[in-house]
């Protein structure tokens, strides 16, 4: 006990100078939180493994059955988009990671500790947004390059048409997918701030990711061109994939980028308003 007492008292003068605590400190703190939790590595590892593994499986299935395809399908075969199919699986987990980085604080009650260390709530929100964006972009870059390499390798082994990574189409795909990668994780994270739970934000963000893709094609052309094209997934795909295949939900790059930014501004704005006004 005696040593412990001297430890507090000796140190009191040293910590007396109060540093200014700013955005950098909050970001560093959020970074430490992220890298010190085992689940982060698990989720990211699973995302990369699922993306690459599923791409390999799908490419195997395509390669082994290609000779049985009809001539029209064979002629319109496009190697890049088939390699990207596995990204969907990794994308689910990255979106779930985005939700969980926020929702876990609410489910455990740790948000109170976080907010008592950083009472400036806008700053906390921005730190989470920056961190989730960076992580999503880095992981998605790895996944995209990984699925392209694996996908092309498998297709190549079946003597099918392939595209090198340095191909301008491939470069555009990698760049656009990486840059739009934060979209769904951030939407999920802001939903988590709004709903303070895990199940609801995951349901909503997965519905937003998949329901238009699954049922959108049933809609009349006008709806697809003017309404569904404004959904985040369609806009992101317009940026990344429109040069590879036609889509009714196509937007030109500038409006598509504007749609993506608008979704982020609206959802982050809503999270900011609720976070700052509500009790923790």
């Amino acid at each position: 006990m005696a040593t412990a007492t001297s430890a507090t008292t000796l140190d009191r003068a040293a910590t007396r100078q109060r540093p200014s605590v700013g955005f950098g400190a909050t970001l560093a703190s959020e970074w430490t939180k992220l890298i010190s939790a085992r689940s982060t590595y698990l989720t990211i590892g699973l995302a990369v493994a699922l993306a690459i593994g599923m791409t390999a499986l799908i490419s195997l299935a395509v390669g082994s059955t290609f000779s049985e395809w009809n001539a029209a399908d064979q002629a319109s075969f496009e190697p890049i988009s088939f390699s990207l199919a596995g990204l969907l699986f990794g994308g689910i987990l990255i979106a779930v990671l985005g939700v969980n980085l926020v929702a876990s604080e609410y489910s455990s009650g740790m948000i109170r500790l976080t907010l008592s260390a950083t009472p400036q709530r806008g700053r906390l929100l921005m730190a989470k947004v920056v961190l989730i964006s960076l992580v999503a972009m880095v992981v998605t870059l790895v996944m995209t390059v990984g699925v392209l390499v694996i996908g092309q390798a498998v297709l190549g082994a079946y003597d099918m048409p392939t595209v090198p990574l340095t191909d301008p189409d491939a470069v555009r795909v990698i760049a656009a997918i990486t840059l739009t990668a934060p979209l769904f994780p951030l939407i999920g994270a802001t939903f988590a701030f709004l709903f303070r739970s895990t199940a609801t934000p995951i349901t909503l963000v997965l519905a937003l990711m998949f329901v238009p893709a699954m049922f959108g094609a049933l809609f009349p052309d006008w709806w697809q061109e003017n309404i569904l094209s404004l959904l985040p997934g369609s806009a992101a795909d317009s940026l990344a994939l429109s040069h590879l295949s036609d889509s009714r939900t196509y937007l030109d790059p500038v409006p598509a980028a504007a749609v993506v930014v608008a979704w982020l501004v609206i959802t982050v704005g809503a999270a900011y308003v609720t976070l700052t006004r509500r009790d923790a």
Binding site: K33, S36, L60, T198, I202, F215, P220
Partner: protein, 593 residues
């Protein structure tokens, strides 16, 4: 009393899954139903508009992503299991709760699937579209409709069960939902591909049965059953290895008293919390009602009141976590949010167990230090201070409540603040932990710090606090020094046990004493001293088996005060009566434990 308490615990065990179902599954199911209804209505509307036939969509329900079920079941089980373990009395309880959870979740979703199917039939009927299957056939015992119904129900059950089991098996992992997706999906998909399925992604063993690829259904069932058995084994391992919550923590709470430190060693340093007309209303409930007080520097101030009196709400408002409905609270003259480096000014221990993630104690303190702009070397110092150095690198998932409490105090001390806030710091601790916290609080106060500590346990406060704030139903009942509080509030009495009590009582009455009879037959005498009672008994040759003067304890003082406030606030007598009832209940519960 004990039987009653057991009944209460038993009841809690079984009401728990119900509450969880209401809170979470209800929401997930509603979203799911919303999805079904919205998609059905949209498709039908669009098809009507474009005059296309949708007979190909006759079974669109089966295209709705089943992974949703697995992911949500995984997350819910991940959330559910720790709480189930905390509430369960035996491992069988926990397993049964998990089973109930899984089945109810699956059944709810399957019923919703049928609702969606029936909704489709109604819409198709309205459109005069050909129907592969009519609604009436759904519950018949033959034909494809029967198979569809079976497919719904079994698919949901399998997915929910697999997801829940994985979520339970990995419940210590924070990514249970993602894992349930991966663990359920990957092996089954791999098996499907490896064995030559051409039907896309086979997502459950039932897909093999209802949409058979080149694979024998029995083989498919065996592959999938193996996957699910592994997840079940994982879940069982967790239930087996996780210690159930220990009980009987308060048995030794009336531990040896710790000597109060000398007043002269304290120095006031002007740090202070000021609360002015603070109110917090939730709807019509006034959790905190016009509260005004100052926390004086350099002493331990106890914040006393029964559960639900508004103590925690007040503390959260001090820390800027909750917004007051009206009034203000300042720390060192500023609102908490305006403090440039709050952790240097005030440290708080709210809920020590509210820590997320599988990380070590030092990693936990490191992010907190970074957030507060505190140098990293301080982490090792506070770990040493609370005696956690030897386990600093271990994952906190294995920590006991006492260790969490120490970690919480370490985080409050990170910024070496002048003011410390502890919310129910001894709750659930063993006697050793209680003495440790009590000693620490006294020492921190003797270093000139301001300590504000809440408790619903009167005895505990008596041992620790110099000054006391008593709160009931959100209102301030007393703001006084501890000794004054006890002195002013109660009279001391003498407990007398005698085989000739009926002879003694009238004689004491004659001497001017007031007598009541305790439950065990002892006489509780007020108004005259013990010595006088002894003399009276001796002069009449009355034998005494016990003659003990009782000092008023804080608990009694508190009850006295809340009782007295009936007179002060005549209009609010009910409220005070309710406070009193809560207090007795709390005490009774502790006695049982």
């Amino acid at each position: 009393m004990i039987a009653q308490a057991q009944a209460r615990t038993q009841q809690r065990t079984w009401t728990f899954p119900r509450r969880l179902l209401a809170d979470h599954i209800g929401l997930a199911a509603l979203l799911w139903l919303g999805l079904i209804v919205a998609v059905t209505v949209l498709i039908t509307a669009v098809a009507y508009w474009d005059s296309i036939s949708v007979s190909g969509w006759d079974r669109f329900m089966s295209t709705i992503p089943h992974w949703y079920v697995a992911v949500i079941a995984g997350f819910l089980a991940h959330r559910f299991l720790p709480a189930a373990i905390a509430h369960g009395q035996t491992r069988r309880d926990v397993s049964v709760q998990l089973l109930i959870f899984t089945v109810v979740f699956a059944v709810v979703l399957a019923v919703l699937g049928v609702v969606g199917f029936l909704l489709e039939r109604v819409l198709y009927g309205a459109m005069d579209w050909p129907q592969e299957v009519a609604a009436g056939q759904l519950f018949s015992s033959s034909g494809e409709a029967h198979l569809i119904f079976l497919e719904f129900a079994s698919k949901f059950l399998v997915w929910a069960a697999a997801g829940a089991l994985v979520g339970a098996g990995f419940y210590r992992s924070d990514e249970a939902g993602g894992l349930s997706l991966a663990v359920v999906w990957i092996p089954v998909s791999l098996a499907g591909y490896a064995l030559g399925s051409q039907s896309g992604t086979p997502i459950s063993l039932l897909d093999f049965v209802f949409d058979p690829p080149s694979l024998h259904p029995l083989l498919a069932i065996a592959v999938c059953a193996a996957c699910y058995l592994v997840t079940a084994a994982l879940a069982w391992r967790v239930i087996r290895d996780t210690p159930l919550r220990s009980k009987a923590t308060w048995a030794g709470r009336d531990h040896a008293r710790f000597g109060h430190s000398d007043d002269s060693t304290r120095e006031g340093n002007g740090s202070m919390i000021e609360v002015r007309d603070l109110s917090k209303h939730y709807g019509t409930t006034k959790a905190v009602d016009q509260l005004s007080f100052d926390i004086k520097p350099g002493i331990v101030t106890g914040f006393l009141g029964p559960n639900g009196a508004g103590k925690s709400t007040t503390m959260r408002m001090i820390l800027g976590l909750d917004h007051p409905t009206s009034g203000s609270v300042t720390v060192n003259g500023k609102a908490y949010r305006d403090l440039p480096a709050p952790m240097y000014e005030i440290g708080a221990l709210l809920d020590a167990k509210a820590i997320y993630g599988r990380r070590s104690a030092s990693q936990h303190l490191r992010w907190l230090a970074q957030a507060g702009g505190i140098p990293k070397q301080r982490v090792d110092e506070v770990l040493d201070l609370v005696g956690l150095t030897s386990v600093a690198g271990q994952s906190i998932t294995g920590f006991s409540l006492g260790m969490f409490q120490r970690l919480g105090i370490a985080s409050a001390l990170l910024g070496d603040p002048d003011t410390l806030l502890f919310d129910e710091p001894v709750n659930g601790l063993d006697p050793e932990g209680i003495v440790w916290i009590r000693t620490l609080m006294r020492r921190l106060a003797s270093e000139g710090r301001t300590i504000f500590v809440s408790s619903h346990l009167m005895n505990e406060m008596e041992e620790t606090a110099d000054h006391v704030l008593v709160i009931g139903r959100g209102r301030l009942i007393a703001d006084t020094s501890m000794s004054e509080f006890i002195q002013l509030s109660t009279h001391s009495h003498v407990r007398v046990v005698s085989p000739q009590a009926s002879d003694l009582a009238p004689r004491l009455d004659n001497a001017g004493a007031t007598i009541t009879v305790a439950d065990d037959g002892a006489l509780i005498v007020t108004g005259i001293e013990a010595a006088q009672i002894g003399d009276i008994a001796a002069s009449h040759a009355i034998r005494l088996h016990e003659l003990s003067p009782q000092r008023a304890r804080l608990e009694e003082a508190f009850m006295e005060r809340t009782r007295a406030s009936v007179e002060y606030h005549a209009g609010d007598a009910e409220a005070v009566a309710a406070i009193f009832a809560e207090t007795t209940q709390t005490t009774a519960e502790q006695e049982v434990r």
